[in-house]
């Protein structure tokens, strides 16, 4: 199911792009601390550079078309992950939060000992599970602000129209941050790992020669044994 990963990438990019068209029409959000505006989303040059202004209708048309792909793709992934048992490699375990801290220290070169790792390490388990939950969150908050009267209970669940919008926006910022870290990690993990995300297996050198181990959808440095095909 690594394909859903690759479908998601352009779809999410389009959702963010068209989402910006919508956001521009009423760009109310910013972060202020003690009344001082720290960040205002987004500066004028940003809008100009990406040709954002005055494209609300277009943005909505794209957003409410690609939402279907985002939803269906996400659903496929979740259904597959549940039925294939792949979730066992993905969902954080009880000790994952402790281990994730070790991973962080290791990645920042503070700690030398390698943290335990299966297909995914503890930090990956947390990050990848979180991103799926975030995806679901985007769908739910999105639906809540898309049809706040028909799905009034969803809107209520999200804390009302305003809060749902803020969550929806914050999740998007979350994706961008995730993406940044994700790309850095992929670069650090190297070519063999990246190749596996496309081909579904990773080449592992071992003593007598070269053996091949098949791994299924490996977004990052994992060496696991799993059957596919």
């Amino acid at each position: 199911m690594r394909w859903t990963h690759w479908v998601n990438f352009p779809v999410l990019a389009i959702m963010i792009w068209s989402g910006l068209f919508i956001y521009w029409a009423n760009d109310a959000y910013g972060i202020s601390i003690f009344g001082f505006s720290v960040i205002k989303f987004f500066p004028q040059w940003f809008y100009q550079y990406f040709h954002i202004p005055h494209r609300l209708a277009e943005g909505m048309a794209f957003h409410f078309f690609f939402m279907w792909f985002f939803a269906i793709n996400g659903l496929l992934y979740i259904v597959y992950t549940i039925f294939s048992g792949a979730w066992r490699e993905l969902v954080p375990k009880r000790n994952s939060f402790k281990e994730a801290w070790q991973v962080l220290l290791y990645d920042l070169h503070i700690r030398k000992t390698t943290p335990p790792q299966n297909k995914y390490n503890a930090a990956q388990r947390i990050a990848y599970t979180a991103i799926i939950i975030m995806g679901a969150g985007s769908l739910i908050t999105g639906l809540a602000i898309y049809k706040p009267v028909q799905f009034y209970w969803l809107c209520w669940l999200c804390g009302g129209y305003h809060l749902a919008r803020i969550f929806h926006f914050a999740l998007t910022i979350g994706y961008v941050l995730f993406f940044t870290v994700h790309i850095i990690q992929v670069v650090l993990a190297g070519w063999n790992n990246f190749r596996s995300v496309i081909s579904g297996f990773e080449v592992v050198e071992s003593e007598p020669g070269i053996t091949k181990k098949e791994t299924e959808k490996l977004p990052e440095n994992g060496i696991g044994e799993q059957k596919e095909d």
Binding site: A57, M60, W68, K147, V149, R165, I198, G200, T211, D229
Partner: protein, 263 residues
Amino acid sequence: MESENKKKTKTPLTIEQKIKRRNFISFGAFFALSGGAFAGWKWLLNAQNETPGITAGARKPLRKAMNKTELFFRNFFSNKHLAKTYPKERAVKNVRVNGLIGINDDKDFDPMAWQLEVEISRTKSLKIGIEEIKALPKTEIIFDFKCVEGWDQIQHWAGVKMSDFIVHFGLDELAEKGYMGLETPNGRYYVGLEKDSVLHPQTILAYEMNGQPLTINHGAPLRLIIPVKYGIKNLKRIGKMFFSSTRPKDYWAKRGYDYYSGL
């Protein structure tokens, strides 16, 4: 797949060959599909706009998608789903004026001489004065008015329920046609609404805001308040009302927006 390959070749492939082969297939597929996706995206991005009609200004495939999406979400529409209402104190005093099309481009308008024209047939129409409308049971609503731009505001309106109005003036049968069209007196702003939303219990023909008669900029003497739609459908200063079995023209749907624009 792999085991089949093995059978076909006489000498078994070395592991290195197998790796190469699988990589080749995977990457080939990956690039072919990426290319396909990119071509598809380019096609959509450069797709022609629809032929201008009742709707206009959107890429053809996207308009099609909007209409399909409308049909899907109309399945969830119910008269029992109500927009959330608020206590009076929550309503803003300074109600936002966002659009004046059909109002500030009509300098000759005389609110005193105003009458609502309801088209009954091609040749016949009803003329209804504001006093007749005010004589009907009054319905108040304090709800969160939502603009397609993204802002919203809790506002307090009062008027006659559209469904009451329709029954009182014997328009039930006409309403069954499926759509209602509304226009400003000068015809510059116009909206089309499907029956379900027209008959929704929170849809009102409003003549009061915050307990006062409407001001000119808020659509005096009579305007539409329809909480199941974005603000763009809440037409101010209604001049003409008519019914149709097909979609009536709609100002913003002609400018690339979704015709339905339902909430």
